[in-house]
């Protein structure tokens, strides 16, 4: 498979924080969810891909090329949407249109105008008067009206209403439909985006702790709940992020340990967010949560 994004042993040292040995491959035509808690290193990674800062080590390739090989082509291929609007608040849509026209060779004005019209974005209003949803739509219009190959979203769907999230979902699926473009979206909460993600990369404390296809991850774990008296020693040891409460216990179990399952327990399919919570709880030492 041809790769759209490749990070090989990427690291970045800060005084207080280090991103270590990040190795990730995203093939052409697929969507990757980059998940982790606030401060885990998601935005640092994205800043490195966007070349807002330089990696201390490792290489990053977008559509086969590194920034050093061809900085302009490298950057033109990337579309970025963050959680905050990057437009000066005094600006209006016409100002943004003229900036885009001068900044990007591939800017398609007709396409841009069409999106502004479809989404009913007010031409004459200042950006500061835009709602959160309108700002996100404007950022999408600015990105989708030019030829990009890799779309990077950094917490871009935070604070959107469910209808708008649904619309974004469709936009993202449209973006990769041809099989020639890819999406990396980072979020601390996958939610409804889980369904469309092909790959999941999970980062914690600057290190990748899980990196696989979403379907394989979902199939690797079950969530079990049970009565406290049914919790055997061996089950307690094998469970991931177990929490025992007054009225029972719950935790994650790798499907490799399926022999420990019995009808005594309630067995559920976890979603990616739940898997993340249990893994983090395990890292912290599952038993610290006892009695809460």
């Amino acid at each position: 498979m041809e790769m759209m994004l490749e990070l090989q042993g990427v690291g970045k040292q800060y005084k207080e924080f280090a991103l270590q040995d990040v190795t990730v491959s995203l093939p052409k035509g697929y969507i990757m969810g980059y998940i982790g808690r606030n401060g885990a290193g998601k935005t640092t990674t994205i800043n490195l891909i966007n070349r807002i800062c330089n990696p201390s080590e490792g290489t990053i390739r977008v559509n086969g090329i590194t920034y050093e090989e061809d900085p302009i082509r490298y950057k033109e291929q990337i579309g970025f949407i963050g959680d905050e609007s990057y437009f000066p608040k005094e600006m209006r849509i016409k100002d943004i249109r003229s900036i885009l026209k001068h900044s990007y060779q591939s800017f398609d004005e007709k396409e841009f105008n069409q999106m502004i019209k479809n989404w009913k974005l007010p031409e004459k209003q200042k950006i500061e008067k835009f709602s959160r949803g309108m700002k996100v739509k404007l950022m999408f219009a600015c990105t989708l009206c030019r030829e990009t190959k890799l779309l990077i979203l950094d917490e871009a769907t935070n604070g959107l209403d469910p209808v708008m999230r649904e619309e974004v979902l469709e936009l993202l699926q449209d973006y990769i439909a041809s099989g020639e473009r890819s999406i990396l979206f980072s979020t601390h909460m996958l939610n409804d985006l889980e369904q469309i993600a092909d790959y999941i990369v999970f980062i914690e404390d600057g290190k990748i702790i899980l990196n696989d296809t979403k379907d394989d991850i979902l199939e690797s774990y079950v969530k079990i709940k049970g009565k406290k008296e049914d919790l055997s020693q061996v089950l307690r040891e094998r469970m991931i992020g177990i929490s025992t409460k007054d009225y029972g216990f719950e935790g994650l179990l790798s499907t490799e340990n399926a022999d420990l399952l019995s009808k005594k327990y309630v067995i559920e399919k976890p979603n990616i967010d739940q898997i993340m919570v249990h893994m983090l709880r395990e890292k912290k030492g599952g038993h610290a949560y006892e009695g809460i």
């Binding site: 699926q173 990769i176 041809s178 099989g179 369904q195 092909d198 979403k214 379907d215 979902l218």
Partner: protein, 123 residues
């Protein structure tokens, strides 16, 4: 063709897609020679990932329901009667196994279970 995904289902999403398409091929709603929508189109249509849909199509291909041909897409294969019958027999067996297991749990013996079957058959 209809594919309806349930988040409450016990089955993983790729298996839901596979089973629903299979069902419609078996009951004749999707006729032989029909070209299924492309993987990417279906993924977009039902709002699931491309890998999930690919897996469903791969399973269908492995089980002999469809064949994917370069440039033509995924075509529903013809099913002779023996194949159809086998599929249904397997399904009957599965149902019966569940019945037997449940019967054993309440200590119902073979004769009583067969009686029950006779009675239900006549209804």
């Amino acid at each position: 063709m209809n594919v309806l995904i349930s988040n409450q289902s016990e089955l993983p999403i790729y298996a839901q897609i596979r089973e629903q398409i299979k069902e419609q091929i078996l009951n004749g709603q999707i006729k032989e020679g029909t070209v299924l929508p492309s993987i990417r189109k279906l993924a977009k249509e039902i709002g699931v990932s491309v890998i999930t849909t690919t897996r469903a199509y791969n399973d269908l291909e492995e089980e002999g329901y469809i064949a994917t041909m370069q440039g033509k897409g995924s075509v529903v294969l013809s099913k002779d009667n023996t194949f159809l019958k086998e599929q249904y027999l397997m399904r009957i067996e599965e149902g019966m196994l569940t019945a037997i297991e449940t019967a054993k749990r309440i200590k119902l013996d073979e004769e009583e279970l067969v009686d029950l079957l006779h009675r239900l058959w006549k209804e």
